[in-house]
Amino acid sequence: MDLGPHATFIIASYAIFTLVLASLTAWLMYDGARQKRLLEGLQAKGARRRPRSGETESTQ
């Protein structure tokens, strides 16, 4: 496919776009795996959270 005289600009746009989105996705996947490993490690050690009064579930 002939992209004409401005091929460099088009290819650079797509290359940077792919690089940034791939890096973001990879970082989110890595972060998710890391948090899951840490949580499983703590639970395996028997760590338990004390629920606050009147609380059943929370993000904290």
Binding site: D2, H6, F9, Y14, I16, G32, S58
Partner: protein, 267 residues
């Protein structure tokens, strides 16, 4: 109340983790299919009669710009949910959306710059549209920096939410910067600024001003990247919930160790 109980049900992080775990692969799958289809149609469409082959940049630049703004709107909405309704997932949503919105805004700036050089003869001009999008990017960086600079989670959440709501004024400014604003019945007339950037070709009162061979690939591509945004956002929210659970367990461990030490010291 019935409404409250539905809201509470949706606000439950455990339920969110279960629901998002099922939805996430579907969101990601639909995103990939739509992006591949949209870009394939975009790259096989005839070149633009004025812009030639550089029109291919539009299929990633325009969705990036839309999603950069949508990301900020999502943060502002989540911040409102946190400050007004104290929704437990609102802060998680705002925090997760910031790096994703920042990435899409950065991509809009970079791809726009690379499109501008062959079309305008320059990578950058300090006009209203480009400068306001750059300000949006700095706002994202400000939100991320503010949150990471405050150790206490609850305080960081509230301050970031206030900044996000104050900064939301940038969104209409970005839109008005190129097209101006006219509301005759209010007597409001804001002229468009002088800019190299073209006005919107898709969302217009008089219909799209773009040929269907370019419009449909653009819409498929934009829809695909929107699905990708929400897939990444959902993943970011899941990560944040796990991070907060890890933090809570670590705090509980330290508390337990201190309690044991206190009992041992008393004996």
């Amino acid at each position: 109340m019935q409404t409250q109980s539905i809201t509470q049900k949706l606000a439950n992080p455990t339920r969110f983790m279960a629901l998002s775990g099922t939805l996430l692969p579907w969101l990601a799958g639909i995103a990939v299919v739509l992006i591949v289809y949209g870009l394939y149609r975009g790259w096989t469409a005839p070149p633009d009669y004025q812009q030639g082959e550089t029109i291919r940049i539009m299929y990633i630049h325009v969705p990036s710009a839309w999603l950069g703004m949508m990301g900020y709107a999502l943060i502002a909405l989540s911040s409102f949910g946190l400050l007004v309704f104290r929704h437990p997932l609102a802060d998680v949503s705002a925090k997760a959306a910031a790096p994703i919105g920042a990435a899409f805004t950065l991509l809009a700036l970079i791809t726009g710059s690379l499109w501008g050089k062959p079309m305008w003869g320059t990578y950058w001009v300090w006009d209203a549209r480009l400068t306001s999008v750059l300000l949006l990017f700095f706002l994202y960086l400000g939100l991320i920096s503010l949150r990471t600079s405050i150790e206490e989670e609850a305080l960081a959440s509230k301050l970031t939410a206030v900044l996000a709501l104050v900064g939301v004024v940038i969104l209409p400014f970005i839109k008005i910067s190129v097209e101006g604003l006219s509301i005759p019945w209010l007597g409001l007339e804001i002229p468009a600024w002088n800019t190299l950037h073209q006005p919107s070709s898709v969302f217009r009162a008089d219909g799209p001003k773009i040929h269907s061979s370019q419009l449909y690939p653009l819409l498929y591509s934009a829809l695909g990247f929107t699905f990708l945004f929400f897939a990444l956002h959902m993943k970011g929210m899941r990560n944040e919930i796990l991070r907060r659970r890890v933090k809570a367990l670590r705090i509980a461990e330290v508390d337990l160790a201190r309690a044991k030490e206190a009992v041992a010291a008393a004996e």
